[in-house]
C-alpha cells in the first residue's frame, strides 16, 4: 500500500487551547480511518485542515493525491437547483458517461424519482443522500466524510456501508468521523479516538 497522506506534528490552536496537539499520522491507499470523539473534540477541524479548507498553523500535511471529495456537515447544495443540476455541474464533462454515472448513483441511493426535484423540496436526510452521491460521481482517491451516518435512516446507512465496501475494493481511501468506534465485517477499520487534542 502506498503512502497517500502524511500528517506531521499538526497543531491547531483556538482561544489559547490546543484543539489538535502535535498529531502525526500516515494514511495509506485503500485504508479506512474513523476519527471519533466527543462534540468539540476537533474532528471537523482535523478534516478541514487535511482537506485544505483551513490553513495549517503548525506542522504539515503532505497529500500525495490531489483528487479528493469532502462531504461536510453542510451539504454544499444549491437549493434552487434540482438534484441532477447540482450533481451534473460538479462533473468535469457533461458527457454521456457522466450522465450514466449520475443515473447509477441515483439508483444506488434510491433517489431516481427525485432527479428533477428542487433540492429545497427534499428533506434533510434526502439532501444528505444527494451530497453523499458526490463520492460515487467523482473519481476521487480519497473520500473525506464528516459524520456521514448522522441524519440518515437505517436503509441509507446500509447503502452507505455497501458503498464503503465497494470503494475499498476499488482502492479508495476513506476517512470518516463519528462519535464512536466504527466496526464493519468486510472492512479493516483503523479507529482513532480524538481526545484532548491528541489521537489515542
Amino acid at each position: 500500500m502506498n503512502l497517500l497522506m502524511k500528517i506531521i506534528n499538526l497543531t491547531i490552536q483556538r482561544n489559547d487551547r490546543n484543539i489538535l496537539d502535535n498529531i502525526s499520522l500516515d494514511i495509506h491507499t485503500k485504508s479506512f480511518l474513523n476519527i471519533y470523539g466527543a462534540n468539540g473534540s476537533g474532528k471537523t477541524s482535523f478534516l478541514k485542515v487535511i482537506t485544505g479548507i483551513s490553513e495549517i498553523e503548525s506542522g504539515a500535511v503532505v497529500n500525495h493525491s490531489n483528487n479528493q471529495v469532502y462531504v461536510g456537515h453542510k451539504y454544499g447544495l444549491k437549493t434552487n437547483l434540482t438534484v441532477s443540476e447540482n450533481l451534473m455541474l460538479d462533473l468535469q464533462n457533461n458527457n454521456r458517461d457522466k450522465k450514466n454515472k449520475l443515473t447509477d448513483a441515483l439508483e444506488v441511493y434510491k433517489m431516481s424519482k427525485y432527479r428533477d426535484t428542487l433540492v429545497k423540496h427534499l428533506s434533510h436526510g434526502q439532501q444528505k443522500r444527494v451530497s453523499l452521491m458526490r463520492t460515487l460521481l467523482l473519481d476521487s482517491d480519497i473520500w473525506i466524510l464528516d459524520e456521514p451516518f448522522s441524519a440518515l435512516d437505517e436503509e441509507t446507512k446500509g447503502i452507505l456501508n455497501n458503498t464503503f465496501v465497494d470503494a475499498n475494493e476499488h482502492d479508495k481511501t476513506i476517512i470518516i468521523t463519528g462519535h464512536s468506534a466504527f466496526k464493519h465485517d468486510q472492512l479493516k477499520v483503523r479507529n482513532f479516538l480524538l481526545k484532548d487534542g491528541r489521537i489515542q
Partner: protein
C-alpha cells in the same frame, strides 16, 4: 477555463431561478436618483444638469456596495465554499468567475439602466456615453476590490457595515477618475486619460485581487 465556465454557468442558473431579485438593484438605483433629484430641486437647472451624471455614478457605487456581501455569503452558508476549496479545483479562475457573474447579475443591470436615466434627466448623448463607459470599466473594478473585503468579512454576523467601511475608502480613486471623466465630457473636454486610468486600475486589480481573495477566504474559513 473549464472551472471558470462551470462556476459561471452554475451562478447564472441559480440567478435565473431567483425571479425578481435581479430587478432589486435597478429599483434601488431609481429610488436613490429620485431622492437626489427631490433634494436638489430648488437649485438652478444648470447646476442640476452638471450634478446629475455625477449623482448617477455615485448611486451606482452605492448599489454596488450594497450587493457585495452576497458574492460568497450563500456559498459559505450552504457549504458550497467548503466543498469547492476541498476539491482542489478552487483556483483564481473560480474567484474571477464568481466575481464576474456577480457583477453581471447585480451591477450590470444598473449600469445598463444608467444611460436611460441620464438621457431622461436631460443629459447630452456624449456625456451619457462617457458615463456608461466609465461605469462599465469602473464597476467591475469595484466588484474585484469588494470581493476581498467580502471574503474577509464572510463569517461575521454584522459584516455588511464593516464591509462598507473597508471598501468605500478604497473606491475613492475609481470614483475620482469615473466622475472626472463624466465631468470632463459635460464640460466638452476629453475624458480619454480618465478612462485609460480606470482601465489600468481594472487590469491591476484583475491580477491582484483573485489571489488576495483566495487567501482571505481561507483565513475566514479557519
Amino acid at each position: 477555463m473549464e472551472e471558470f465556465s462551470k462556476v459561471f454557468i452554475k451562478e447564472i442558473k441559480i440567478a435565473s431561478r431567483s425571479g425578481y431579485e435581479a430587478l432589486m438593484p435597478i429599483m434601488y438605483l431609481l429610488i436613490i436618483v429620485l431622492f437626489f433629484n427631490i433634494s436638489i430641486s430648488y437649485i438652478s437647472k444648470n447646476l442640476i444638469l452638471e450634478l446629475t451624471p455625477l449623482m448617477i455614478w455615485l448611486s451606482c457605487l452605492l448599489v454596488s456596495v450594497l450587493n457585495l456581501e452576497s458574492i460568497f455569503k450563500e456559498d459559505y452558508e450552504d457549504g458550497t465554499l467548503d466543498y469547492l476549496i476541498s476539491s482542489n479545483t478552487f483556483h483564481e479562475s473560480v474567484i474571477v468567475a464568481k466575481v464576474f457573474s456577480h457583477w453581471l447579475l447585480t451591477t450590470l443591470p444598473v449600469v445598463v439602466v444608467s444611460p436611460f436615466i441620464s438621457l431622461l434627466l436631460g443629459i447630452d448623448y456624449q456625456t451619457t456615453l462617457i458615463l456608461f463607459l466609465s461605469l462599465v470599466i469602473g464597476t467591475p473594478t469595484m466588484s474585484l476590490l469588494g470581493s476581498v473585503a467580502a471574503a474577509l468579512t464572510l463569517t461575521l454576523k454584522r459584516g455588511k457595515i464593516l464591509l462598507a467601511i473597508i471598501v468605500l475608502p478604497l473606491y475613492v480613486p475609481i470614483l475620482i477618475f469615473g466622475t472626472s471623466a463624466v465631468n470632463n465630457s459635460f464640460l466638452q473636454m476629453s475624458s480619454l486619460s480618465e478612462l485609460i486610468f480606470l482601465s489600468i486600475i481594472f487590469l491591476v486589480f484583475l491580477l491582484i485581487t483573485p489571489t488576495a481573495c483566495l487567501k482571505s477566504l481561507r483565513l475566514s474559513l479557519d
